[in-house]
Amino acid sequence: MKLNTNGNVYTFCYAAVMVIIVAFLLAFVASALKKTQDANVANDTKGQILTALGYDKAAINVADVYAEKVQDNVFAEGELKAFDGNFNTTYGSLIKNGELHVFTATTANGEQAYVIPVVGRGLWGGLWGYIAVNETKDKVLGTYFYHESETAGLGARISEKWFQDQFIGKPIFGEDGNVALTVVKAGAAQQENEVDGVTGATLTSNGVAAMVKDGLTAYKEFLSGAAAQCPNKEKCQGKCSSEEECASPCPADESESTDVEQ
């Protein structure tokens, strides 16, 4: 029997059946593989943090080295507290909500370091990265950047080692106390806090510059150490005019902090 493949009924049925089959197939594949994929993503994120610390993630067992060398913390109210929730693989929304993760770690060279996650936008999609800073929080020890969908061979080169290694040893802050570390046009880096961008990928390079600046600025309280001297800076807004005054807790906020604890 020959089917009339041009009839309306056949066309509709064919489309409906095709959609149902494809939908089930995709849903099945996605749910069956989700667990393995999530484990891979978490492992890869840990590998990215270790890369920023100077480890070669291809040559080590990422999970073991991470467990041994890295500690996940949250920076809140002027101090680091160990984070005991599930390991996060994206940090954009957390930073926006004020949950500032800082990883304390030892680098491949045995130095004490803090790793800060940063998130930004490139030309076509999201960018993210991890910046390792030294113990005194003023110099970069290493970086890792990656992207969702930058152009292969151009913007995608921000994920290459030569680009990321340029940041090593760069000071974070300028003389005015603001984040001065930036990416400039390829070949134009003169100042000590400038690094070369990627040739032919100006918009992605600008995206990295903005990501580094915004990302580090979000952690300014942690990095500048001012918070350590002034744990109540946020609460006694305006009441403390100078760092010296801040060093001692503001009288007004004693009650507030006890409220929070209750």
């Binding site: 066309t11 995709l26 593989l33 891979n40 061979g153």
Partner: protein
Amino acid sequence: MSKLFSEENKAAFSNPLNLNNPIAVQVLGICSALAVTSQLKPAIVMGLSVTVITAFSNVIISLIRKSIPNRIRIIVQLVVVATLVTIVSQLLKAYVYDVSVQLSVYVGLIITNCILMGRLEAFAMQNKPWPSLLDGIGNGLGYAWVLVVVGFVRELFGFGTLFGYNVIPQFVYDAGYTNNGMMVMPAMSLIIVGCVIWAHRAYNKES
């Protein structure tokens, strides 16, 4: 066996490599040829990915070609390609994560590649699965070699490297040679593709 490799089937495989090359003759898939050829490695990865996906989607469409309603055939082809690419990328993500990270940039470019749709419409809809498979592989490789040629020229003159390794010795730079920044721009790849097409047609003048 002899039937599997008949003259006709061989032609299905070898024609797209040369006389009916998807880029040089049919001028299909140009957009992706411009996007990923600034270096050699992404050009090769993209070429191989397209080869695999073209081959498999050709076979699937060829298997169901008699049942596809004529009026929605393009939609059916698109669904097959998109499903295939999505499932493959999901599998890669679960079992070979590093490869999937490398390929993530290309997934969108593969689905929208004109060569895929072109081959499904022009070949797989009329032919049996085996010739369709050969045709898919042939077209993918025909596309790949043009990408590799363009990638080779652009990386060599644009960056002075091949596969990321420096090949132009330092004394050439000392003598005043500089990398050509123009090569890195997409516009230059259009010009190089044009040169490839020119050379290819000059060589195959009689046919």
